[in-house]
Symmetry: C2
DNA sequence: CGTCACCATTAAAGCGCTTTAAGGACATCA
DNA sequence: TGATGTCCTTAAAGCGCTTTAATGGTGACG
């Protein structure tokens, strides 16, 4: 007597079973199921019928093993990041258009970037898209010698890999331009801490301010990626003699920290102080946050990333490339003319000149 | 002359190469690399050496195909949900302890639950852990006939699958108890819309209120999963003659909506109104939100989920089971005694009796 | 010195699918 | 009728690894 374990009580049908049911060879069945030309329409139908009747689903591992190419792109992400979530969604779409499938691998407490990447390698990925990788450039370069690697978001110095990123400096410059156009002069920047992305945005702020001849108003507050750093900066700013009329933050989370502290202290936004974030994250879109921010154009970013992969895989490109996607300012409800606009700028009263999105709350 | 495509310029070493380098057969090499007993320690070392020298990494597809069991658990998730992110992290840990690996599959705009599950099926998963599945119970039951299925978070009526969920009614009851102990009487609940989870929490509120003989203060406001519904409810409440002294929301996002609206309207929290959320999401832990909430104990949830899978796979359990994990109240800074505590309750002044977490901001 | 038991090692048979070259069937043409 | 194609279909050889039964080589034992 054979004891069947629960796990295998129902054996799933194999290609062979379908072929038998359709009265053809496995080879023909395979051809039909993958849509290759060859089989006649009558055979075609018989196979398709049989497959449907049996509820056949091809075994991925087997087909992966047998196929010459896997058409798999490995994506490294941090499952905790909402921005990565957005990117994953868009990379899914882009990959699909090129007939590639995705393997997701995420970092966790007990699973660092290295291990996550190894999983991808072991899964027969033909190329890797790394979202905000932190590995040293040398390691990325070494990886790229094994298979095409695209780093998203981070500018990898020696360009040993393809890079797709947003023009961070331009993004912050857009924010500054917007605020200056509204009449702001005293514009403070809340920093994002160490790191290349942070440096780019900071530089963008500094250059834009100088460009507007506001060099003497340059003011960078220390900060990091989180809400709390924004809150801290806002508290510090409120304690100042002459607080700024506008704050640009490294990212949306930091900006929300600023926003929250200001509102709790009874400071009107944008009545008294305007706030701009960065990322156009779901957070910023919440009706009750309604944050003016800078969009990284996730969809475009991922389109370029997938295009880069495809070119190297299918197009034979060998050299590396860096694509810089221009960001886009998303004006929502946290920016307006400064309270003393009448004094600083003859153009006008509160809120005049403010271009609002259609959210209209706040 | 052979033109080598960029994709395959460096062929990765196979088991055979390692075996050859170590001067043994592939069989031995396989045995060593998987740590099976048999090979002598000297052989062992030679193989391990060779593998390291060649940078060998086993091909997952091949080993999956050859192995009798895949030891793979498929996890269906929504990459946009921060709570799922937490769950994934914890399920990773739990699975690892039992020697199982994970395959993640997420839904996106263009990829519904059904397709995401199919991917998992095709990947040779031995069991499925579905985070907050929305498929009809019948479909889940059908799936379970193919392989063990655990639904997390959602109570599936006819119990055609294993279920692991938090005791939602108890959770809300904890929140109500806490508020009543602080002296609150007029406690309003902001609903989460249709759905089983929402119903459970609503029921928990109603029962707890009646238990405290506060049946006449029962007040359920309509709402859903998002921040905006909380904000809406708060605005409505503020327009009331006699606003409640405490609000319990369906989830943290809704609670944050409430919180935000109250603060912007100059209503003190918890001075004038206390607010309680649900989920203990990262959102609630933010220092500037510091929300009293109910934790679903993600780690325990996932431990049970994996245990359920393992029991059915390796333990031969056949019948279905439902595990209900008791939730835990996390007291932070948004709850305190009601403003009129002196009148309602002789026990005391504002804030007395409030047990705070060590966040201490607000 | 032959026999047995035992150990480390390996040959070989797949896992389920893809792919290519070879095979058959039939129609067309000389 | 035989030669020449044109289509369809299929046999067979893997993909890279796991696993089991079998191999050969020990030393112990009678």
């Amino acid at each position: 007597m054979v004891v069947v374990s629960a796990a295998e009580s129902v054996r799933r049908p194999r290609l062979q079973d379908v072929a038998a049911a359709a009265g053809v060879s496995p080879a023909t069945a395979s051809l039909v199921l993958r849509g290759s030309a060859g089989p006649s329409s009558v055979t075609r139908e018989r196979v398709l019928d049989a497959a449907a009747r049996l509820g056949y689903r091809p075994d991925r591992a087997a087909s992966l093993l047998a196929r010459r190419r896997s058409r798999l792109i490995g994506v490294l992400m941090d499952v905790r990041s909402t921005f990565h979530a957005q990117l994953v969604e868009d990379v899914h779409e882009a990959a699909e258009e090129h007939g590639y499938d995705l393997v997701l691998s995420t970092m966790t407490r007990t699973r660092d970037e290295g291990r996550a990447v190894e999983t991808l390698l072991d899964s027969r990925c033909e190329a890797l898209v790394l979202l905000g990788p932190e590995a040293p450039a040398a390691r990325l370069g070494a990886l790229d010698r094994q298979l095409p690697v695209v780093a998203v978001g981070r500018a990898v110095p020696s360009a040993g890999v393809d890079v797709v990123r947003a023009a961070d400096d331009e993004g912050v410059a857009l924010a500054v331009d917007h605020l200056v156009a509204l009449g702001h002069r005293r514009i403070t920047y809340v920093d994002g801490g160490p790191g290349a992305i942070s440096a780019g945005r900071r530089r963008g702020y500094q250059r834009a301010m100088r460009r507007h001849r506001l060099g003497e108003n340059l003011h960078v507050m220390p900060g990091d990626h989180g809400e709390e750093s924004g809150a801290r900066a806002a508290r510090a700013l409120l304690a100042t003699d002459l607080p700024p009329t506008a704050v640009v933050a490294y990212n949306d989370r930091s900006a929300v920290g600023v926003l929250d502290t200001l509102l709790r202290s009874g400071v009107g936004v944008p009545g008294t102080v305007s706030v701009v974030g960065y990322d156009d994250s779901p957070l910023s879109r919440l009706a009750h946050v309604d944050l003016t921010t800078v969009s990284q154009e996730s969809q475009q970013l991922m389109r370029h990333a997938v295009a880069a992969v495809v070119e190297r895989l299918d197009g034979g490109r060998m050299e590396h490339r860096e694509v810089v996607v221009p960001p886009r300012l998303v004006v929502r409800g946290t920016t307006g003319a400064p309270p003393d606009a009448e004094l600083d700028d003859p153009r006008g009263g509160s809120r005049r000149g403010s271009v609002r999105s259609d959210h209209g709350l706040t």
